[in-house]
């Protein structure tokens, strides 16, 4: 099936109204056909991308986004607030599971036939039958005093001789985000792992409502601290689409530089952290040092170590002078040499090899079923990168290779990161080469009421999808950021199976999902 006709084929198999809205083709379909369309999509091997809902007066608009060969399809249906029921797509797409549970907790929509309708984002702090994302729920929330302990969450149980349960977290000994992991193990062998996230729920979606574009961009930059450029860019792209704003070439190139710098910083940190989890501290110290030098250049050139708030609606809030271009180029050369030296030492270390190879295996089938993204997907043969497959400026101007492996183990995820660092270094060099003089920001146009945009970019963890709808007066009506972690977290539950308990931390680190980005 060629890239041009899959959508036409699909369209003929489901009769639906079709309109093209910016990045994605949007189809408004009947709620009764919701599940059937998903089945057809599955038949056409579409990838499930994201799902979210929206409260619009007396109806809920439920969306689910699919992709194939870089083309995005947005399915939308509306259901009445009085009867918030919809057939579940999670029966067809396991990837949609947590997303639907999120909508269920936030809006009170019942997904009929959902394989697992336990609460997900909802913890004990919320009053029963109050739904935060409905418009009648106050933005400041309702105070209920001290949150009662979540004693009765129905975790999956297993019984039998020698089976024991290990609850880990939500508070961990290391300085990491909170999340609960429930293991069932026999001896050291992991029988089952269940994740319980949501401890970093910040109400991003709710507090986004009513903001102006600048303020929303700042909020988007705080969805997940390590992906501040990625989320900010995705949100800005969505807003720019909605407003019909074209951003200057210089700004797109600087955005590209920012995003690649973020990718490199995180990948360097991750490579070190993976080694640290198998007690190979030398690598972590070296990687931390390289990351620190990299971040200091960020601070010198862009004025912020993590590049927060450097992307603004309509352009960028920072410039790269000639002198700084030279500094960046010099930095790249240095990083490349140093990295090559250290990576060689890691490659030659057999004790490290023994820990990383074959551990935490994620098969191509499982990776595809859960729609895993970024380096997790690409280590398991999921050859997808938004930058190449649905290019956006500045990536439409450059040629680059996307590293893909099929080995699917921790080592593979380790090496994919290294390969991506090398590609990103070249990309930054190319962007600097192409840097043309010009404006950094264009004037903002107030978008019409109801204007919507879907910003899809490749963050360092993978594809980020950001949906934005405006109301009147340049205000945000709905903001939904889908971090790649949301699709990668379920893969962790699968890839640790048949591993031993003490190998879990390194499996987890090789995936490195964002808790904050998942919980919103």
């Amino acid at each position: 099936m060629s890239s041009l006709n899959w959508m036409a084929d699909f369209l003929s198999s489901v009769s639906a109204e079709c309109e093209v809205v910016q990045a994605a083709t949007t189809w408004q379909i009947d709620s009764q056909a919701w599940q059937r369309v998903a089945e057809l999509a599955m038949k056409q091997q579409l990838r499930w991308v994201a799902g979210w809902a929206e409260h619009d007066q007396d109806q809920f608009l439920v969306n689910s986004c699919f992709e194939q060969q870089g083309r995005y399809l947005l399915l939308r249906t509306s259901i009445a607030v009085e009867h918030p029921e919809l057939p579940s797509q999670a029966t067809v797409y396991p990837a949609a599971n947590r997303s639907e549970r999120h909508s269920q907790d936030m809006f009170g929509i019942r997904f009929l036939g959902h394989p697992d309708n336990r609460r997900w984002t909802r913890h004990q702090a919320w009053i029963e039958n109050s739904y935060p994302l409905r418009k009648d729920f106050p933005v400041q929330g309702t105070r209920v005093g001290i949150t009662p302990p979540d004693m009765h969450y129905p975790f999956i149980k297993s019984h039998g001789a020698g089976v024991y349960e290990i609850p880990v977290g939500p508070i961990h000994a290391g300085i990491i985000e909170p999340g609960h992991f429930r293991f069932q193990a026999v001896g050291e062998l992991i029988l089952n792992l269940e994740e319980r996230l949501g401890y970093v729920h910040k109400g991003i979606e709710k507090i986004a409502e009513g903001r102006n574009p600048e303020s929303l961009a700042r909020l988007a930059g705080r969805v997940s601290g390590d992906t501040t450029v990625g989320h900010c860019w995705a949100a800005c792209r969505a807003m720019e689409q909605a407003a019909g704003v074209e951003i200057p070439v210089r700004a797109t190139l600087i955005r590209g530089i920012l995003a690649e710098r973020e990718r490199i910083a995180n990948h360097i940190g991750d490579i070190g952290a993976i080694c640290n989890d198998v007690a190979f501290v030398f690598a972590q110290m070296q990687m931390t040092r390289l990351r620190e030098l990299w971040l200091r250049t960020n601070a010198t050139v862009f004025g912020h170590r993590l590049l927060m708030d450097k992307i603004v609606p309509g352009g960028v809030a920072c410039d790269v002078s000639e002198e700084f271009c030279t500094l960046i180029k010099k930095d790249i050369v240095e990083l490349r040499t140093e990295l090559a030296e250290i990576i060689l030492a890691l490659d030659l270390n057999s004790s490290l090899e023994d820990r990383l190879y074959t551990a935490g295996f994620l098969s191509e089938q499982t990776a595809a079923a859960f729609g895993t993204l970024g380096y997790v997907g690409r280590a398991s043969g999921q050859d997808f990168d938004v930058r190449r497959d649905a290019p956006y400026p500045p990536y439409d101007q450059v040629d680059f290779k996307v590293a893909v492996e099929t080995q699917g183990d921790i080592a593979s995820r380790f090496w994919i990161r290294y390969k991506e660092i090398r590609v990103s270094l070249v990309l930054i060099e190319k962007f600097i080469e192409q840097l043309v003089d010009g404006a950094l920001v264009t004037d903002w146009k107030t978008p019409p009421e109801g204007a919507e945009g879907l910003g899809i970019i490749e963050g360092w963890r993978g594809e980020i999808v950001s949906y934005i709808r405006f109301e009147a007066d340049n205000k945000i009506a709905r903001f939904y950021p889908r971090d790649p972690s949301q699709l990668n977290w379920p893969a962790l539950e699968k890839l640790v199976l048949n591993n031993i308990v003490p190998d879990f931390p390194v499996c987890n680190k090789s995936l490195n999902g964002s808790y904050s980005g998942n919980d919103l």
């Binding site: 880990v168 290391g174 050291e188 501290v281 070296q286 004790s351 003490p502």
Partner: protein
Amino acid sequence: MNWLIAILQTILFVALSPLLAGWVKCCKCWLQNRKAPSIFQPYRDLLKLTYKQPVVSEQASWLFIKAPYVIFSATVLAATVVPLIAVDLPTSASADVIVMVGFFAFARFFLALAGLDIGTAFGGMGSSREMTISSLAEPAMLMAIFTLTMTASTTNLSLAIAHVLNEGLILRPSFVFALSALILVAVAETGRIPVDNPSTHLELTMIHEAMILEYSGRHLALIEWASQLKLMLYGVLIANIFFPWGIAQSFNPQDLAYGLMAIMAKLAVLAIVLAISETLVAKMRLFRVQEYLSFAYLLGLLGMLSHIILEASR
């Protein structure tokens, strides 16, 4: 006089063990291109822990509170048996090397019980792993020690060391095997990389640390101190059995001072070797530890066989 020296060197053992731990940490930091903390940091940590209030779980029984004292005392008793700066100790005569292994086992037994006592998942997990490993480490250790005791025809450590000293420098294949075995066992028993990682925060990968996760305040201080003592004990065993030169054979102050200098230098070198090996290798997968310890046992066995075949006839 003998008893005085025995008591003095036990005190030295207890007093110097945090210094050794600090030195290992310093070496590791330098090898990782980091600034090292002060070599006296372990003392400060112990001091800090002693005046912190211990927090004890409501589910804990008397065993949990008593265990640190038992563990510390048993480890100190084990230290009395090992000649540090001088041979010919009365304590070595009253308790031989097998008793020393027994003291270790006794301490470990209580540590494992304490890990189970509070009923957290990590404690039980740590205890189970510790027992798995020690059941393999103890025979390997005894095998290495027996090689030595067969050579010296005694299980009294003082006499054995004196015997090695009097024999002078002879290349014994059995000792090479026994030394290798003892080093492997020492790494496993003291919870160092590649068997266990003493500085990790990852609960699921812990062995020793998992058992003591619930400890705090002075209880934790005692357990930490005991494990520092254990590290030093193994260091001294390796240094004094296989490289005994420098140890005092009489009790005059000059010899004793010389003995002290010698053992400190030997330990410093051993610590550097430990730090280098910990920097060069990653931790093993847990199920690799049995292969590792079986190998240590095999080396011990080879040592004994080569003693019987090559050396015993002489």
